[in-house]
C-alpha cells in the first residue's frame, strides 16, 4: 500500500511537471504573440504589398507590436492593409507615421514597419490610415545590381587595359630592373628622413621663436608686444618726419642758394669773360699779366728788402729794446 502511494505521488509529480511545462510554454507563446493583449485596428495604403499576408508581424522601432489582420486588394493601384496594433501603441504611434514593408532578416517573412515622422502630430486613433512607403523590391535591387555589374565590367576592362600597358611598357621594365634605383631610392628616403628631421628641428626652433615673440621676448617680441616701445617708435617716426620736413626745407633753401650762387657765378664768369673791369683784363690780357708779374716780382724784392731793414732795425740800439719787450710779452701769452 505504501508503495502504491509512493507510485501515485511519483505519477502526480510526473504529470504535474508536464502540465506546468505546457502552461509555461503557452504563457511564453502568448506573451510573444500578445494573444491576450487588447488591440485596435488601423489601416495602411500600399500600391504593392509584395507578398504580405494576414498574420505577418507589425513592428515599431524593431519591436513586434501587432499583426496584419487583413490584406485587401481594392483596385490595381491600391491595397488596403488592416493592422491590429497593441493598445499601448496609442500612446506611441502618431498620425503622421508611415508604414513600410520589410522582411524579417534577408529571406524571412514579410512584415510592416511603422516609421515615425519628424514633424509633431497627434497620437493615432482607431481607424486612422497610414500612408505606405514604396517597397524596394528584389526586382529593383537586381536591376540596380545589374547596372552596378555593368559599371564594374567597364572599370575592370579599363583596369585590364592599364595593366596590359604597364606589362608591355619597356621603360617600366627597365626602371624595375634597375638595381641602382632601389639604392638611390633608399638614399633619397634617407635624405628625406634627414631633411624631415631637420625641418622638424627647424620648426621646433621656429616654434620657440614664435613662443618668445608671443611672450614679448627679444627685439621682434618687443616690437610686436611692448606698447611703450611702440609709443617710442611712433615718437621716433614723428621726429624723423619733422627732421625730414626740415631737411626738405633746407634742401629747398639750398636749392635757392645754389641757384643764386649759380647766377652769381654765371655773372662773374660773364664779367670775367666779357666785362669791362680789371678782372677781365687781368685774365685775358697777356701784357697786363706780364706787368702784374713784374709788379709782383718787384713787390717780392721790396718785401725782402723790407725784411732785411726790419731785421737791421731789431739789432739797432734804438729799437732793440722794443723788440725784446714784444718777445717777452709774446712768451707770456
Amino acid at each position: 500500500m505504501a508503495n502504491r502511494t509512493t507510485d501515485n505521488v511519483k505519477l502526480g509529480v510526473f504529470v504535474l511537471a508536464g502540465l506546468v511545462l505546457l502552461v509555461l510554454f503557452f504563457y511564453m507563446l502568448s506573451k510573444n504573440e500578445s494573444i491576450f493583449a487588447s488591440r485596435f485596428e488601423i489601416k495602411a495604403h500600399f500600391a504593392n504589398v509584395s507578398g504580405l499576408v494576414s498574420g505577418n508581424n507589425v513592428r515599431v522601432a524593431g519591436i513586434v507590436v501587432g499583426i496584419v489582420e487583413d490584406v485587401e486588394l481594392v483596385n490595381d493601384t491600391l491595397v488596403i492593409v488592416t493592422i491590429a496594433l497593441n493598445d499601448d501603441m496609442r500612446q506611441i504611434v502618431r498620425k503622421n507615421a508611415t508604414a513600410a514593408l520589410g522582411t524579417d532578416g534577408l529571406i524571412g517573412n514579410r512584415l510592416v514597419n511603422i516609421l515615425p515622422a519628424a514633424e509633431p502630430a497627434p497620437l493615432i486613433e482607431p481607424g486612422d490610415i497610414l500612408l505606405g512607403q514604396k517597397d524596394i523590391s528584389t526586382e529593383d535591387m537586381l536591376r540596380t545590381l545589374d547596372q552596378t555589374n555593368r559599371n564594374v565590367l567597364i572599370i575592370s576592362n579599363g583596369l585590364r587595359e592599364t595593366i596590359d600597358r604597364i606589362n608591355k611598357s619597356t621603360q617600366l621594365t627597365t626602371l624595375l630592373d634597375d638595381e641602382s634605383l632601389s639604392l638611390n631610392l633608399k638614399a633619397a628616403l634617407l635624405n628625406l628622413r634627414s631633411a624631415t628631421g631637420q625641418a622638424s628641428a627647424t620648426m621646433q626652433d621656429l616654434n620657440a621663436v614664435v613662443a618668445d615673440v608671443r611672450n614679448g621676448e627679444g627685439s621682434v617680441g618687443a616690437l610686436l608686444r611692448d606698447t611703450s616701445f611702440a609709443w617710442e617708435l611712433n615718437q621716433t617716426v614723428r621726429k624723423l618726419q619733422a627732421v625730414e620736413n626740415q631737411a626738405d626745407r633746407l634742401a629747398q633753401n639750398m636749392d635757392a642758394l645754389v641757384k643764386e650762387v649759380d647766377g652769381a657765378v654765371k655773372g662773374l664768369q660773364n664779367d670775367l669773360n666779357y666785362g669791362p673791369g680789371a678782372a677781365n683784363l687781368l685774365m685775358k690780357d697777356s701784357l697786363t699779366a706780364a706787368r702784374l708779374q713784374n709788379a709782383l716780382g718787384n713787390l717780392e724784392q721790396g718785401t725782402a728788402r723790407f725784411s732785411e731793414n726790419m731785421e737791421a732795425m731789431k739789432h739797432n740800439f734804438l729799437f732793440r729794446r722794443y723788440f725784446r719787450k714784444m718777445e717777452k710779452k709774446k712768451e707770456k701769452d
Binding site: 511519483k10 505519477l11 510526473f14 508536464g18 510554454f25 511564453m28 507563446l29
Partner: protein, 240 residues
C-alpha cells in the same frame, strides 16, 4: 481492429470505471518510460544541433540554429521520436503482457469470474497510453531543447535566455497545439494496437512474441499515418 476500437469506445464510456487500475497503468506506462524517453530526447536534441550546425554554418545562418531546432523538435521530431520509443517500449510490453495472459487463459478466467477483462485490461492501458504520451512528449521536448542548448554551447557561448527567446520567437500556437493534439492519437494508437495484438494472441508462447513484435510494427506505421493525417488536417483547419 475496427470492431476492437469500437468496443473500446463503448466500454470506455460505460461504467464501471477502473480508476485504480488506470492510475497504476499511468504510472507504469508514463512515469516508468520517462527515463528512456528523457535520455533519448536529450541525445536527440544534442545530436540534431550538432548535425545541423555544419550546414547552417555553410550558409552563414548558425544564429538560426535554436529557431530551427526548436521548430523541428516541437512540431515533428519530439512527438514522432517519443511516440516511436513509446511504441517500442509500451506497445511491445502491452502486446506481450496481454498475449501471455491470453495464452495462459488468464483473460478467459477473468471472463469466467465475472470481471470484464476488456474494461480492466484494454481500456485502462489504452487510456493510460493516450494520456501519458502527451505528457512524455512535453517533457521530452523540454529535455531535447535543453540538449540542443548544450549542443549550441559546445561551439559557442549562447545564454539560455537568448536561446529560449530565439526558440519561442519562432514558434506559435500553430506549431504547438497540433503537435500536442496529435500525440493523444499516437498514444491511443500505441495502446489500442498493443492491446489488440495481445488480446487476440494465439499459438502459445510463440504467439506472444509475435504479438509484441507486430504491436510495435503496426503502432509505428499507425504513428506515421496519423502524423501524415495530422499535418493535412492542421493545414486544412488553420487555413480556414
Amino acid at each position: 481492429m475496427a470492431r476492437f476500437t469500437a468496443r473500446f469506445f463503448r466500454e470506455a464510456f460505460h461504467p464501471r470505471y477502473e480508476f485504480s487500475e488506470l492510475i497504476r497503468q499511468c504510472f507504469i506506462i508514463g512515469y516508468k518510460s520517462l527515463s528512456l524517453v528523457g535520455l533519448t530526447a536529450f541525445i536527440m536534441g544534442l545530436v540534431l544541433t550538432m548535425q545541423l550546425r555544419p550546414s547552417m554554418v555553410r550558409y552563414g545562418v548558425e544564429a538560426e540554429i535554436p529557431a530551427m531546432v526548436g521548430i523541428s523538435i516541437i512540431r515533428e521530431i519530439g512527438p514522432i521520436i517519443t511516440a516511436l520509443i513509446f511504441a517500442g517500449k509500451i506497445g511491445s510490453s502491452i502486446g506481450a503482457e496481454l498475449g501471455s495472459m491470453r495464452v495462459t487463459e488468464q483473460i478467459d478466467a477473468m471472463e469466467v469470474s465475472g470481471t470484464n477483462p476488456f474494461k480492466y485490461l484494454v481500456v485502462t492501458r489504452t487510456v493510460a497510453a493516450t494520456l501519458m504520451l502527451p505528457v512524455l512528449v512535453i517533457l521530452a521536448d523540454a529535455i531535447a531543447l535543453y540538449g540542443s542548448y548544450l549542443g549550441v554551447n559546445i561551439y559557442e557561448i549562447l545564454s539560455f535566455k537568448l536561446f529560449y527567446t530565439l526558440v519561442i520567437d519562432n514558434l506559435g500556437y500553430y506549431d504547438v497545439i497540433p503537435a500536442i493534439i496529435k500525440t493523444f492519437f499516437f498514444g491511443f494508437a500505441v495502446g489500442i494496437v498493443g492491446c489488440f495484438k495481445g488480446y487476440y494472441s494465439s499459438k502459445g508462447t510463440e504467439g506472444v512474441g509475435r504479438s509484441a513484435n507486430s504491436a510495435v510494427v503496426m503502432a509505428s506505421v499507425f504513428i506515421f499515418i496519423l502524423d501524415l493525417l495530422a499535418v493535412q488536417i492542421t493545414e486544412l483547419v488553420w487555413n480556414l
